[in-house]
Symmetry: C2
Subunit: 661 residues, 2 copies
């Protein structure tokens, strides 16, 4: 049971009740899931058709036609089903469940006799199964369907899809392996690995765990599977339809297949693939006690979050290959910071927390969640950023091709629509990220401050409590013990968030209480009784944040943070160009309630300057500094990054020039 | 004769004798021209072969083989011949001339019976002449050969190549026109237009002028020629070898063919094509008195130099299409600023000066020449920048694909090697850019401060003088009249350079003299006599320069200029990261002779600050500003931009953060 807990948190039951997050989870249930259903069925006016459901109908023989969409289009259906599974777990909805059951029957009908399940190859290239792992996302799509099946089974108790994916996984297990006649390979896009761990946890079948381990262990070993496969295909590329050169080591780094995973020193390549792989590595390290894998996880975590992460929790700094570039290269304007990559970063953080409860993992998880991830979605739930920039100049997004991937307004849907369903499945399963429990340490850890009702099985018996949180606006959190079986002896550990800089007060039943600090958590071990009230007050105030001088893009600038939220300046509040504004480094940062922002959001005001356009002729590009007009004092208004772009389009910047350095 | 003077300056004879420039012109003669000759013959070790001479040998039937290189490879031979023509004009070199004569015979042998001359189509697609003006550079190559012929004839008196290109131009004149059976079109890459004006000036044949006018007048009119042509080809593209979509208006703007040239409001598209076209427009405006064309030239000049030009005189801010993006979009790191584009800008400025002597044209010409253009060449003459960045981080050039086009060190040669021969031909003809004479106004204008001996024909007779200049290091220029026929009555006009900010003293024969200021020129009209000495002392001092706040990329920063030179910080002098440095806006800028730099170059020192890496852990990306280490005072050392990258590779930046704004 320990193993299951480490990966699925089955011993924890959590239901969110939170003023801030209920809006989002409600939006996902009431708007995103239905809207995505329409999208999957090609019923969104003016949006590119998805073809996703139609592909399954064709593969199931219920309709005639050609495969449509991307080679990995099946995964959109899987992510939707996964989100539905999570949603039904907490909010029963018979009509939605009936729709999902129908989809599951359709998926089952599209499955081949031998367990194979992939509409692209079934419809379009039936003879070419498993010949292009490098490009064709076959195992990736399988992985998403497995995740969907586990979530749907957990949410509804229905095993229909779980049976389908077990048959699929069993088939994969015959195709891949080290026996003669088997493929000693792995997918170009990691995902199956973490999914198989979930399938193992859900079924207890160790062969799924072993298969996950096989894929991780084989990756990047010599001779390189992806190279040999490409040679065997004669270099044929699915994407170009022509012969392509055999991948170089640099190109293999895109797939994190340039060297064995345990030897990888830094986060490289396609960011989503990287974090999905790290997530599985952490899962396996937890389940197998593999010290080399744990060491690699720690090393890759440190590199990625210490040297390659934006302050918003975004990762992947270049559009080319949606990829990491290199240490400290974090341009704000040509940025990528894909939504899905931050979601994968949250998965990885979550698994690291299960491995070792260190607050740095939860700090990053919170940073990515409250900024990059929820900022990707519009307040109506129908528009998304795929790329999450830290600096936007709308004209440049239109007219400078180097920034064309940076959209200045959220888009309806995407040809490659991975992000919206990924947001949906994360937000619907957010309850899985708030706590963890360690039976060994007899401890309940609170990682995120999200109002919720939680129940845990500890060695001494069941423990339940309610969390009430005023985050992200105020640093006030309460925990009320609603159940404590037996002696009620357990350790209560609450994260000391990085943003309070060690200033956090705990009160127990009204009296200030000392606590032990271990791994960034405030821990109190005692006998707890029903009705006990823990108040947790991490200091939450707006601060100017500097970046490491190695991060060239942020030199001479500061960002505003307030608690878990990163702020930004928008043109609608401050006029343009935003780059003409600077903030006084000694400025008082005043939180102000802003009626123009949704949901009681708090803006931050500060004294600053504007480099005056007054006196500049539009046609004069350059002139002596001492003849240029002086800066004028202005009041700056910063808004939470996650809310940017919800009013009128305009310039935006997270990093603000300092008026003095 | 007036018309000829306006375009070729035949009435002016100038020979450079200048400590600064003799190094460059000598380098071109002694190193660049011979080195390029080796390159054209594929004899540079480790460099990509050019195929250029070989293509002519194949087309002439002297060798068997396939066409090699780019579709416009012929133009490299033409540019080399043009440079040789200029070089021979001032520095006879029988061996070089013999080599050039042989090349000219080869070119003549490659010409077809009907006058057609293009090795690509002759060798590779003989049936497809004039079917792909959009992509194939046929008229572009013809234009360069015409320029070469005019220069070679002027330099050596030999008409052989001129006869070849007249036959070519006559052939073109039969193919293009408004008569039935003629092509009512123009080249995708402008160049033929300015070349035909030169051919007209050299031969007096008005049909060449009319043909130039035809190309300019037709461009961008409806129905669009390039669109119709593409339709007639069935969309076939030379570059991809496949069918491509019909060009959109946005794509036609790449070729400045989106609307008639007189209606173009702003500089758009491929920067080199744009400035070559503007040059021809200015030529035609001068020769025909076309007011609409002059108006368009002024408008496009104002837009380009006022809103789309880097402080180094670079133009074209994006790699994609080597193109302009839009007003005030001048990123320093993802910059393009191609060398050839600045050379074309100098051509355009030169023609505008002939149209109307306004110092702003010469200011820009000088800016582009002393910074972007000579900075593109290494001090050994064998290495070049194609892209001339204002900010370089070598690791980013290697590992961030968004900056891969920005090389951190000059390259040996290029697959598309347009820049090195273009630099050569400009530097060898630099004597054409220093002065102009107006017979109407009876005035000699000095635009550039380059030591030289000059001779002019004015209404009153021949005038000759010597210019001695201490530019770019000191603001001291002397003009000694060596000949003044007749009464010696003429107006002597010397540019008041923008960088002296109106502070310029003139002395005549030792006594300070008043002068009239017209169009940015200091003018003295009087009777001059042989031996008269004019001393001209524009104030030359280092200054901090600010950019218009609309230029987002330069916000909160300053550049250092000293006279015509832009300066930059290099890592070799200041350590890295360069972005951690800031300059005190009130700092005294001290010129210092620097023995580490070539040729008595003057560096500039200033007080500044470094944002300390001290106290930052490498793995800590962000932390509160008030807990970050204070900046430390440092002495900054800036070097002339044109010299950057001649020592060891490292970071470089033109724009320096201000420590206070």
């Amino acid at each position: 049971m320990k193993e299951q807990q480490a990966t699925t948190g089955q011993q924890v039951s959590v239901r969110i009740k939170d003023a801030f997050w209920d809006v989002y989870t409600g939006l996902v249930r009431d708007t995103v899931i239905p809207y995505q259903w329409e999208a999957l069925n090609d019923r969104i006016p003016d949006a590119e058709p998805s073809f996703a459901i139609r592909n399954f109908r064709i593969a199931a023989g219920r309709e005639q036609g050609e495969f449509g969409g991307m080679v990995f289009q099946d995964s959109d259906v899987a992510k939707w089903l996964e989100a539905v599974g999570y949603a039904l777990a907490t909010h029963p909805d018979p009509e939605l469940e009936r729709t999902a059951d129908e989809v599951i029957e359709l998926v089952a009908a599209a499955q081949q006799e031998d367990g194979y399940l992939n509409t692209y190859f079934t419809i379009k290239e039936p003879g070419k199964r498993w010949t292009n792992l490098y490009e064709a996302h076959e195992l990736y799509c399988a992985g998403h369907m497995i995740e969907a099946a586990v979530a749907y089974c957990e949410g509804t108790g229905k095993r229909r899809l779980l049976d389908v994916v077990c048959k699929l996984a069993d088939h994969i297990d015959t195709v891949f392996g080290r026996e003669p006649g088997q493929l000693r390979g792995y997918d170009g896009h990691q995902e199956i690995e973490l999914a198989l761990v979930k399938l193992y946890a859900a079924t207890g079948e160790r062969r799924y765990l072993k298969l996950a381990q096989f894929f991780i262990d084989e990756r990047g070993t010599a001779p390189n599977f992806l190279v040999r496969e490409c040679e065997q295909r004669g270099g044929f590329s699915l994407w170009t339809g022509t012969k392509q050169p055999i991948p170089t080591p640099r190109q293999l780094a895109y797939n994190q297949a340039h060297r064995p995973v345990r030897e990888q020193e830094a986060a490289v390549g396609h960011a989503v693939r990287a974090v999905y792989m790290y997530t599985a590595m952490a899962d396996l390290a937890a389940l197998t006690g593999d010290a080399g894998l744990l060491e690699a996880c720690r090393r890759l975590w440190a590199n990625m979050t210490g040297k390659q992460m934006y302050i918003t929790g975004g990762i992947g700094s270049t559009h080319h290959g949606e990829a990491f570039s290199f240490d400290h290269d974090l341009p704000n304007d040509t940025v990528y910071a894909e939504t899905c990559a931050s979601i994968g970063l949250i998965f990885f953080a979550n698994r690291m927390l299960r491995l070792e409860p260190r607050s740095e993992y939860a700090d990053v998880m919170e940073r990515a969640l409250y900024n990059n991830v929820i900022g990707s979605m519009s307040q109506d739930g129908k528009h998304y950023f795929y790329v999450n920039p830290l600096e936007v100049w709308p004209r440049a997004s239109d007219d400078n091709p180097d920034r064309r991937h940076v959209k200045a307004v959220r888009q309806k849907w995407f040809g490659c629509s991975c992000c919206p369903p990924n947001v949906a499945r994360l937000l619907c399963s957010l309850n899985d990220y708030i706590y963890s429990a360690s039976t060994e340490r007899n401890t309940v850890y609170t990682h995120l401050f999200i109002g919720s009702e939680a129940r845990f099985e500890l060695p001494g018996g069941t423990v339940a409590f309610k969390q009430r949180s005023h985050l992200p606006w105020q640093g006030c959190v309460q925990f009320e013990l609603t159940e404590a079986q037996g002696e009620g002896e357990f350790a209560f550990a609450v994260r000391i968030p990085s943003w309070c800089y060690g200033q956090a007060v705990m009160k127990i039943n009204g009296a200030e209480s000392a606590y032990e600090t271990v791994g960034g958590y405030a821990i109190v071990s005692r006998s707890w009784a029903k009705g006990d009230l823990v108040e947790w007050e991490p200091r939450l105030e707006a601060r100017l944040i500097a970046a490491n001088p190695e991060i060239r893009a942020d030199a001479g600038k500061a960002a505003i943070e307030r608690g878990p939220l990163v702020y930004c300046l928008e043109q609608v509040d401050n006029g343009g160009p935003i780059s003409a504004l600077s903030v006084d480094p000694a400025a008082e940062l005043r939180p102000v309630q802003d009626g123009a922002l949704p949901g009681g959001a708090i803006a931050v005001e500060a004294a600053g300057y504007r480099t005056g356009p007054g006196g500049w002729q539009p046609d004069t590009p350059y002139r002596p500094l001492d003849q240029s007009p002086a800066s004028e004092q202005v009041k700056l208004k910063a808004v939470p990054y996650f809310l940017w772009g919800n009013r009128q389009p305009g310039e935006m910047s997270v990093w603000i020039r300092l008026s003095r350095v």
